[in-house]
């Protein structure tokens, strides 16, 4: 079966531009996570959805970051007025359960470069 997919795989933006990153989770997975991974670092939590409800957005670094999952499946992470410090790989993960010990399946990520 298909895993988690993300698009685009690579995105180059000029500073100040808005970007939208898409995540297609595994079908039927209720939990969806976004992480940011800087070069040479571990992923850092951004936000969590349970179905369409955004239950935790404590990791979003600023109000320029916005995520949605309107129908409880596909999710979009939007970054407004991109800055150079936003350059990173953005990872999406989904899980079939609601517990922290349910395995999270990661997509390949979107590498964002802000010039």
């Amino acid at each position: 079966g298909a895993g988690v997919s993300q698009s685009p795989r690579y995105k180059v933006a000029k500073r100040g531009q808005d970007v939208a990153l898409r995540c297609d989770p595994i079908s039927g997975h209720v939990s969806l996570f976004w992480y940011q991974q800087a070069l040479g670092q571990g992923p850092e939590f951004l936000t969590y959805f349970q179905n369409e409800a955004q239950l935790d957005k404590s990791g979003l670094p600023s109000d320029r970051f916005f995520a949605e999952r309107p129908e409880g499946s596909v999710s979009t992470l939007k970054i407004q007025r991109t800055q150079q410090e936003d350059s990173a790989v953005y990872l999406c993960a989904s899980s079939s359960g609601l517990f922290t010990y349910n395995e999270q399946f990661f997509g390949p990520g979107t590498r964002l470069t802000v010039l």
Partner: protein, 112 residues
């Protein structure tokens, strides 16, 4: 704040040797300890995980050892192979929150 500290940052092991990566955690609420493996250009993938009610879990060549009193857990890769060359991350969930806190990662290189 740093809640999971991983070491070493990088590790080189000869083929057939044992690779050992360590993690220390700071929050006793952690109740599940997974290890993820990441290849270049790919997302992390779950390798093996342990709950704190056991001290060791083994799956094939991979073993997690857990020391609750020391707040440490480690990954052992036996008979390391070149295909094991990747970056490894330990992680732990925050109790009451649906998120994982990751270590900084260990870049493992297995020389043939």
């Amino acid at each position: 704040q740093q809640q999971v500290k991983q070491s070493p940052q990088s590790l080189i092991v000869q083929k057939g040797g044992i690779s050992i990566i360590n993690c220390a955690y700071e929050n006793t609420a952690f109740d599940y300890f997974p290890w993820y493996q990441q290849f270049p250009g790919k997302g992390p993938a779950l390798l093996i995980a342990i709950r704190p009610d056991v001290s060791e879990k083994k799956e094939g060549r991979f073993t997690i050892s857990f020391n609750k009193s020391a707040k440490q857990f480690s990954l052992h890769i036996m008979d390391s192979q070149p295909g094991d060359s990747a970056t490894y991350f330990c992680a732990a969930p925050i109790q009451g929150a649906q998120k994982l806190v990751f270590g900084q990662g260990t870049r493992l290189t297995i020389n043939p």
